[in-house]
Symmetry: C2
Subunit: 344 residues, 2 copies
DNA sequence: ATGAAAGCGCTAACAC
DNA sequence: GTGTTAGCGCTTTCAT
């Protein structure tokens, strides 16, 4: 025998034997059931402590049908936006006694489908998902019974629970802000034509609306698609604009990551931000606040997104909840920083 | 009745009845057990598909003692370093058919203890943890049997599995690099005297060694403690240095987050980086690569950290594994970028 | 207030 | 190659 002692977790039966009561009574004590004689409770509790009893999660889950776990299904956890959101969701989950499980899809349709259809064999009580590759119609095709809450506006109007900010309005406000600082050649970076989730399209719509309202022409060459939403993609898009010799005095990126990449590329190209070029993002991740110059952005209320998402899930998990799918719009605000300051 | 159809997950018994075989045979087919007649297998598989059978995770867990889940216990998922690491760990976990569960401690001792003692009632097969507030001695006091792998060097030499880079060597290399660019007044930002995990102390040791090797004096005023590791703390530390009128020509921060904050504060104070001040970090997170100027840093091999951590865990989960705790040191390298370029 | 026992869905030991 | 069944640890109904 080595020096290690295998500590086997005690179960209800062992505690019951040692305390001279039945499993039923021990279970009552563990669950805080009130109908237990004080003296019995005391004795049982002592044995519970002695043996370091822990309820077995698997047995509870099998018996009760609840695992106490919810899954967060997102493209990538390493992205600052999803990282911050995951943090808030983990906090909210903890408040409710739930545990958060993280599944990455990489924005891949097959994997999104797979996770949607049944995360680890019904091991989770509910899902919070940010779909990229699946269409609203895809999302509705779901035999699995685990409640689902979507992050981001979805076209499946009213058919699925989701929580989002008003992307059209937010993009319009940001674009209007750029126009108010005197910019007229405003590029929009971040369309993802190969994705079906609709968020980028909504931001584009808000952008176009603001241009139209200001009587500015809409130049398709100023709408630059990207492959992914990393900084590298933002930098690449910026280089495309600069390389093509298109005149630009502002760049509205559909995520802070893209904006930070664009900022990097623009600076590397000798442009001064905001004097020569205004750069704005979306998401208000911490990076943007400390960028050089600090990044103007749309700040969604991430804490509210997390809270509302779990409220919706909780509603679905409680049998007498409202059966109507809920579409929740949470607040956002424009965070104006130096990257879009008015040129002298 | 509303429009929703409650689809109840089929179980082995139901599949067996419908296929006219026993549960045993269905189980064999599901588990890919070879000893099944081809014709039987075909028929069973068809029913399996028809009913959309999914093995019940809770039952498997209860029966087999394995949940297929591992927990990642970290201070905060929103931190870029832990976010990137979590991404790699999730990828590695998926390769092994495991699912990753994320638990945040906020660096709080009570919560670290709580999670260490039993994450969700033995619901996980193993833990990967980055302790902040608990001492090596605390970490050893653990009745729970779930295998534990620590991230970061721990003082508990040889008593616990852990995977880390050589922090002393890395900090020494980085400091030496700063000295080679002609800096002589090098501040070290990131000591956390209230934490017990030892990583910061190791980086300080490497820093001091490099100074000593170069014959530079060690000035305690240049070692600035921080409360947490956020950008705001780096900025605050920078302001302390600048406000105190201490002469400084380089700042070595113990994380990229701190460095980005310091960079921000220095720039805001009118200093040019790297001309007036060199700034370097640690971790090589994506933010640093796109900072303005790009940040010199120590790049740990994060993919290797994730891979090795799960290899260690896998070894513990397989009964005939090596009983000796393993201390794994993974590679790192110095990533020199513009933030520490030699002044003209 | 407490005991006895069924049963959640699965795996595997034991039949044949 | 396949059927039967015990039992993982828990909650809860039924009985006392």
């Amino acid at each position: 025998m080595g020096g290690s002692i295998l500590v086997v977790a005690a179960n209800l039966r062992q505690v019951a034997e040692r305390a001279g009561v039945s499993v039923r009574t021990v279970s009552n004590v563990v669950s805080g059931f009130p109908q237990v004689a004080p003296e019995t409770r005391r004795r049982v509790q002592q044995v519970l402590d002695e043996l370091g009893y822990r309820p077995n999660a698997a047995a509870r889950h099998l018996r009760g049908g609840r695992s106490g776990m919810i899954a967060l299904v997102i493209p990538e956890i390493a992205s600052p936006y999803f990282g911050e959101l995951a943090g808030h969701l983990a906090d909210e989950a903890e408040k409710r006694g739930w545990t958060l499980l993280v599944q990455q899809t990489g924005g891949d349709a097959r994997r999104e489908r797979e996770l949607l259809d049944g995360v680890r064999g019904q091991a989770v009580d509910g899902l919070v998902m940010s779909p990229w590759a699946l269409s609203p119609a895809d999302l509705r095709r779901r035999p699995d019974a685990a409640p689902l809450v979507l992050l981001g506006e979805q076209d499946a109007d009213g058919l699925l629970d989701h929580v989002a900010i008003d992307n059209v309005a937010a993009a319009r406000e940001l674009t209007r802000h750029l126009i108010e600082t005197g910019r007229t050649r405003i590029a929009a970076v971040g369309l993802q034509p190969h994705l079906l989730n609709g968020t980028a399209a909504r931001r584009r719509d808000g952008y176009r609306q603001a241009l139209a309202e200001a009587g500015l022409p809409h130049d398709p060459a100023l709408e630059v698609p990207v492959d992914r939403l990393h900084r590298a993609d933002g930098a690449a898009a910026m280089r495309v604009l600069l390389g093509a010799g298109i005149r630009v005095d502002a760049v509205f990126c559909f995520s802070d990551q893209l904006a930070l990449g664009a900022l990097h590329a623009a600076t590397g190209h000798g442009l001064r931000v905001p004097a020569d070029l205004a750069v704005a993002g979306f998401d208000d991740v911490e990076d943007g606040r400390y960028a050089n110059p600090p990044l103007t952005t749309v700040a969604p209320d991430k804490v509210a997104i997390a809270r509302v998402a779990l409220e919706l899930l909780a509603g679905r998990l409680c049998p007498d909840g409202d059966p109507e799918p809920a579409r929740h719009i949470v607040a956002h605000h424009l965070e104006v920083r130096a990257s879009t300051a008015q040129p002298a």
